[in-house]
């Protein structure tokens, strides 16, 4: 029987299509998580009211910030999930090597980020419908360009969290020590900063990514950071053994 020649791109493409089907559960968890976030946001994220004479004005703000935050968390968890043994073993049942497996995972996570980002931002329309029917008031509509910008930046944020989750998941696969070490380091730093009252590493990292006003710079920051996180995971996992 003659040997078949395969190219990396070809295999990555096949694995990607396979993963869209095989990992379809993650999209179901996305729907539930976003609905939960919508429910939590129903109180409104802020409100103000004032009374002038006999006229009372009550303003409530609703935003999909909460949904976006939940989606980022979901991206992080999904990325960790697909680095676990069960998912890694799934890859190696059919044609794969570690490079193709990692690349198809990255493309899959990009897809989930796009889906997560779009649905998170479109949840603002769900708010408007709910407000219209349940609160008997007409919401103020926003400009479409803002929505597009919102979708785009949410996708990038979710992707950044996916990349972070992927590296964290890979580290945990290499040694179980990291399951304790990483959360301890994160929360430890957070608590220490809280106690000392100054902005430390965690705060400055958040500031670096979440307060960027220039769109171009923001895109560059996210892409470079995600690229670094993914390449770290690729290098680390290139020697990992699988059960198949």
């Amino acid at each position: 029987m003659s040997l078949t020649k395969v190219s990396l791109i070809e295999v990555v493409k096949k694995q990607y299509v396979y993963k869209l089907k095989a990992y379809s559960q993650v999209f179901i968890s996305l729907i539930f998580l976003q609905l939960l976030a919508v429910l939590f946001s129903m109180n409104g994220v802020g409100s103000m009211g004032s009374t002038v004479g006999s006229v009372e004005v009550q303003a409530s703000y609703f935003s999909s910030d909460f949904v976006a935050a939940f989606t980022m968390l979901w991206g992080f968890i999904t990325a960790i999930l697909i680095t676990t043994k069960a998912y890694r073993n799934d890859d190696f049942v059919f044609v794969a090597n570690r490079v193709s497996s990692n690349l198809s995972n990255a493309v899959f996570l990009l897809t989930t980020s796009v889906v997560g980002g779009i649905t998170a931002m479109l949840s603002s329309y769900l708010f408007k419908v709910i407000i219209y029917y349940f609160f008997k008031s007409t919401p103020i509509l926003d400009a479409p360009i803002e929505l597009l910008l919102g979708i785009f930046s949410t996708i990038l944020y979710v992707f950044l969290f996916c990349a972070l989750g992927y590296l964290v998941g890979t580290l945990v696969q290499i040694s179980k020590v990291f399951t304790v070490l990483l959360p301890a380091a994160f929360f430890g730093a957070l608590i220490l900063e809280g106690l000392s009252g100054k902005a430390g590493t965690v705060a400055s990292v958040f500031e670096f990514f979440f307060t960027e006003s220039s769109l171009v710079l923001f895109i560059v920051k996210i892409i470079v950071a995600a690229g670094l996180l993914f390449s770290g995971a690729f290098v680390l996992s290139n020697r990992l053994e699988v059960r198949g």
Partner: protein
Amino acid sequence: MSVIECNGLTKVYGGTKALNNLSFKIEENKITGLIGRNGAGKTTLLKIIAGLLKETAGELKVFSEKPFNSLQVSANVIFLHDQMNLPTALNLKELLETAASFYPNWDRELADRLFDYFSLNPLQYYNGLSKGMKSTFNMILGLSARVPLTMLDEPTTGMDAAVRKDFYRALLKEYIAYPRTIIISSHHLNEIEDLLEDILLVNEGKEILHMPVADLKEWAIGIQGKTTVINEWTQNTEVIYTKSIGIDQSYVVVRNHFSETERQRARNAGIDITPVTSSDLCVYLTSKTKGGIDDVFNKG
């Protein structure tokens, strides 16, 4: 052309050597039986060949490439075993479709026909299958993929006698129609003996024998007679196995070095010469003590 070339292959798992300096070659388009006791290193060897595990030391070439992280090897090898993780979200039909997309030689018609013959339900999930049905499904994957190197680890686990028979027949028919290199690891050597061309016997991570099955049948003989006579006869030969029968009789398995005249003399001395089945021989060769389980109970 050798499909697998293996030189001094060693794999260490937390201090114990699963494979210990193993060297062998497997030629193209042969069915080789990988035989060994539990924990002999069969599965470890197959996993290293499939590129799932990385060898600790030594050299291994599959299709002249190192298998670990090789896409070419992965595309030309299929490795099926009874502890496979198949994606839980896909049903059996979808799994077959996915396999078809990965393997260019995939025979869709054969897969469908086998699937119907063994009356599997296309909407069922792999995890919901019984042990025997899992093995049956693995077999369908393995045969339909038509890859140059097919490795089946304990392919008949859980299968009933009828399905086992069907499986051996299907394997042989497929092999004749589309010759390929096949490695089967199994405990049931007597069942698969007729399928095999070569036998690779491993024990404690080392190669014990690698030879055609036909030669293995001639490799050793069993002699039985009075213990004193037998001891005299076996003084200068390699004894593989001894068993005492009754008070003064014993059965000994030795290397078959006897010439025709020697055999004749043995018969005259009252010794029975019998052939040893390959399956028994493999058990004798891989047992730790010469007397087998009897030694455990013979305290005196």
